[in-house]
């Protein structure tokens, strides 16, 4: 694995474009910036084309003989299927408003990381084969042939976009480079170009229900470890149920939270909360993954993986579905699930049995976000909270890309944070809510081998955290995304040491006063709680 440069070396960013035009500037597959290709077995498991051993560093990528035909045919098909693609190919005026909105550009200075040029990588090929001007005038019209080198460039840069949609907020026509990247990745997948950090979770999720490929008994064990920890900390023993028919609610968290800190703490908080209010819910081992790396593969793969949620809800006969803290999961649920796998006419409009609130905004999809659910509980005074148990923390909140820009879930988590902790500080306006910066590892790019690129892409986010860290002493970065919880800790360690990462519900779990609990001396991390009495001493 490539050696990670020191932060000040990394910040030696040259924003001047190279002397050579972008079509003449070849890609440099420098270690630390790209990801390992998909393992053939994983491709086989889900029936993706051209499974083989290969490496981006090799000259020969072992493409199928008619690869060019496949890609161009695939592009033609998708132009017919997506108005978005046609429009986004045709309407860009190259005004450059999106250029410095991409975290990868800000962290690398590489002009091909400007959303406009990322899109031009595909657009230039589109012009050549699908527009009159491009066919006649060729290069001068910005058209170019699809060659192996172009394909390699696609692989490099379309797996260097986290589909965060920040660029689309600023584009006067709403051109969404994430949409272009999604379709470009579909095309790449047609000839077997993909990355292992996506394909293997996809294959695992398909066969075993979750990204890590944990089998049912393993999953049950892992959950039990969490309830054991909860019992140690609170004295309250929680019983969970799995695959239980007749429960009112199916609860689907992202599996990442089951296995790795600090996600586990956040999941514990959710389990404690659901226990405390006595919700009649079940977990599922079959639909044990909220996340969906199909989103990063193709629309079809997204649908194949997502199908489990409704299928399982139907099999178990629940009334509605509750989803955990995960970013891209909610892009799929909010913008794709109902269209792809609905209508969910076997479910009912979600109603909180505790508060009676009817979640009409989810009356068709029948799935609500845990922060919507919890905010409603708090607003209706249904749970007892002691925010001082989070007094160790000065908290800020990282909006995950997808809940902000593909949903608009902005105030729910903030409302909760205000109620569960006493010290909350916002990062600067330009870096939160719909303008939030990506963690640098979304859309399947959270691997280790591209660590340098992750640190670069995450720099704008880290920079904003550092600002509140220095100004207010912020030491806890809260979020509502499992990928964030996996990739933000190393990012903080690299750029802003002394800032930790947590899920919003970890802080809920800390603050939650449970019936029959013992005196809480430790928070969910087994760290001593600094209580008011301690301070008096």
């Amino acid at each position: 694995m490539a050696k990670l440069p020191k932060p000040d070396q990394l910040l030696n960013i040259d924003f001047r474009p190279p002397k050579t035009g972008w079509t003449e500037t070849p890609v440099d597959f420098r270690p630390g910036t790209w990801l390992y290709p998909g393992k053939p077995e994983s491709l086989q498991t889900v029936g993706l084309p051209n499974p083989r051993q290969w490496s981006p560093e090799d000259e020969d990528w072992k493409l199928p003989e008619n690869w060019k035909e496949i890609i161009l045919e695939g592009l033609r098909e998708r132009l017919g299927k997506f108005r978005s693609l046609q429009l986004f190919m045709d309407t860009c005026v190259r005004c450059g408003a999106c250029a410095d909105k991409c975290h990868f550009f800000l962290g690398s200075g590489d002009p091909k990381n400007m959303p406009v040029l990322r899109a031009e990588l595909l657009r230039s090929v589109y012009r050549k084969d699908f527009t009159t001007a491009g066919k006649i005038f060729g290069k001068i019209a910005g058209a170019r042939d699809l060659t192996v080198d172009v394909l390699k460039e696609w692989f490099y840069y379309f797996f260097q976009c986290t589909e965060c949609r920040r660029c689309s907020v600023f584009c006067p026509y709403g051109i969404d480079t994430a949409e272009i990247t999604m379709i470009a990745r579909e095309l790449l997948n047609l000839v077997g170009l993909n990355i292992d950090w996506i394909v293997t979770p996809v294959a695992n999720c398909y066969m075993k229900g979750n990204h890590l490929g944990i089998q049912p008994h393993g999953l049950v064990d892992s959950f039990e470890m969490l309830t054991d920890d909860i019992a140690d900390i609170t004295g309250v023993q929680i019983e969970l149920s799995f695959n239980r028919k007749g429960a009112e609610v199916l609860y689907i968290p992202p599996s990442g939270d089951v296995f790795a800190n600090p996600g586990t703490f956040s999941l514990m908080g959710q389990l404690m909360l659901l226990h405390e209010i006595g919700l009649d819910y079940t977990l599922s081992t079959y639909a044990s993954e909220g996340g969906n790396f199909g989103l990063f593969t193709s629309h079809e793969m997204m649908k194949r993986l997502n199908a489990k949620m409704y299928a399982e809800a139907k099999r178990l006969g629940v009334k509605w579905i509750l989803g955990g803290e995960c970013g891209h999961m909610w892009r799929v649920i909010n913008q794709y699930m109902d269209t792809m796998n609905g209508p969910a006419d076997f479910l009912e409009v979600p109603v909180s049995p505790i508060t009676g609130t009817r979640f009409d905004h989810a009356k068709s999809t029948k799935m609500i976000h845990i922060t919507e659910f919890t905010a409603d509980l708090i607003k209706n005074d249904k749970i007892k909270l002691d925010p001082s148990r989070n007094d160790n923390y000065k908290v800020t909140f990282h909006d995950s890309c997808n809940p902000s820009r593909a949903m608009g879930l902005l105030e729910e988590p903030r409302y909760i944070l205000q109620k569960v902790c006493n010290n909350f500080y916002e990062m600067p306006e330009e870096t939160i809510r719909e303008k939030t910066f990506c963690c640098g590892g979304g859309a399947g790019l959270g691997a280790d081998e591209n660590m340098e690129m992750r640190m670069r892409g995450g720099f704008p986010r880290a920079n904003a955290v550092r600002y509140v860290h220095e100004k207010h002493g912020v030491n806890m970065l809260s979020c509502i995304c499992a990928i964030d919880r996996a990739v933000l800790p190393p990012l903080m360690h690299y750029w802003v040491p002394n800032v930790d990462v947590c899920g919003v519900h970890e802080l809920v779990g800390n603050a939650l006063v449970m019936k029959g609990e013992k005196k809480r001396e430790e928070n969910l991390r087994f760290e001593p709680i600094r209580t008011e009495e301690d301070e008096d001493v």
Partner: protein, 343 residues
């Protein structure tokens, strides 16, 4: 390269009219035939492009949400930046089309001291763009004076407002000047901002030069060389009433002006200028974020291969039983049978 190429093209085009009209006497070609062809190309091409876009399905509802969603009743929704109703969408689109709302969000990111990212105020592109487009629109409306007799009241009104300023006892139309200033600014920024220059193609410079040429010749005609307005109106009215004539004594400047307009409108449907139509169709802006309340239909939704619960249980039945997970098919009998038959 794109810059030089475009400049060369526009120069060649101007030279073409000059030779055509002055040397070859092709004033009917440039005054009548080409304008008709250009207009036909524009209309047919524009409609064709929009219809082509319109025919492509919108499989998913993918608005970019730029504000709080509609969820709990006590959380204030941002009804415009994250609309959940048609009227919200209309308001959002109106702000985009009339005031370039998204562009107004623009900032400039800068790395200071080599380690801090700051986001600076940067609305020049928005301002320049807005001035350019509004001036362009008003200039176009003012031109109806040449095509319509009597001149409609709203055209007169706009003229009056626009010509409010007097310079040397002569009305100066503000928009004409602003148009030229704004388009020049857009050109300058394209050349001087390194990143923008790096992504620019011939197709980005070309319309700028053409529009500059149009504005420049227009201003020259109006304020400096004094073209024969009566003759021009006769030509324009003739074109408009399909009764074309070419009066004598119209200056070459006018033919250049007219020809560049023809170039612009016939180029329009084949180029990025189609953003005028595209902006209305953009799915990230013109859709409501009511995804979870109202199901969106994908016309080409097709069944896909999934891994069913039954297949899953078949694979893990024993392990599931071992940890006490409920099963659809207990399967113990079947296994016993299988075991006995094996023996």
């Amino acid at each position: 390269m794109g810059l030089k190429f475009s400049l060369l093209m526009v120069t060649a085009l101007i030279l073409g009219v000059f030779l055509g009209v002055e040397a070859l006497g092709l004033s009917y070609l440039f005054g009548v035939i080409i304008p008709y062809i250009a207009l036909a190309t524009f209309i047919i091409g524009f409609v064709y492009r929009v219809v082509k876009w319109g025919k492509a399905p919108v499989p998913f509802r993918i608005p970019t949400t730029c504000g709080q969603q509609k969820s709990l009743s006590w959380i204030k929704q941002n009804k415009i930046e994250n609309p959940s109703t048609t009227s919200g969408v209309v308001a959002r689109m109106a702000l985009e089309v009339l005031f370039f709302r998204s562009l107004f969000k623009n900032t400039k990111a800068q790395l200071v001291d080599g380690q801090r990212l700051v986001y600076q105020w940067e609305k020049w592109l928005w301002l320049g763009g807005l001035i350019f487009h509004w001036s362009f629109l008003i200039v176009v409306i003012r031109h109806f004076r040449f095509f319509l007799e009597p001149v409609p009241a709203f055209v007169r009104l706009i003229e009056k407002l626009d010509g409010f300023f007097l310079v040397d006892l002569q009305n100066v139309y503000l928009t004409g000047v602003l148009l030229l200033v704004a388009i020049t600014y857009l050109f300058i920024r394209r050349v001087f901002i390194p990143q923008v220059r790096y992504v620019s193609l011939a197709a980005d410079y070309f319309p700028l030069f053409v529009i500059m040429g149009i504005a420049l010749t227009g201003i020259l005609m109006r304020y400096f060389t004094r073209v024969d307005v009566v003759a021009v109106k006769e030509l324009a009215l003739g074109l408009f009433t399909f009764n074309p004539t070419v009066p004598e004594g119209i200056s070459i400047l006018f033919y250049i002006h007219l020809f560049l307009v023809c170039v612009l409108i016939s180029y329009f449907p084949f180029s990025k200028l189609m953003h005028m139509g595209g902006i209305f169709l953009s799915p990230t802006r013109n859709m409501a974020n009511n995804n979870r309340a109202v199901r969106h239909i994908n016309p080409w939704n097709y069944p896909v291969k999934v891994h069913t619960y039954e297949e899953y249980e078949d694979e893990f039945r024993d392990k599931m039983r071992a940890v006490g997970l409920p099963l659809e098919k207990d399967g113990t009998e079947g296994e016993k049978e299988a075991a006995t038959t094996k023996e």
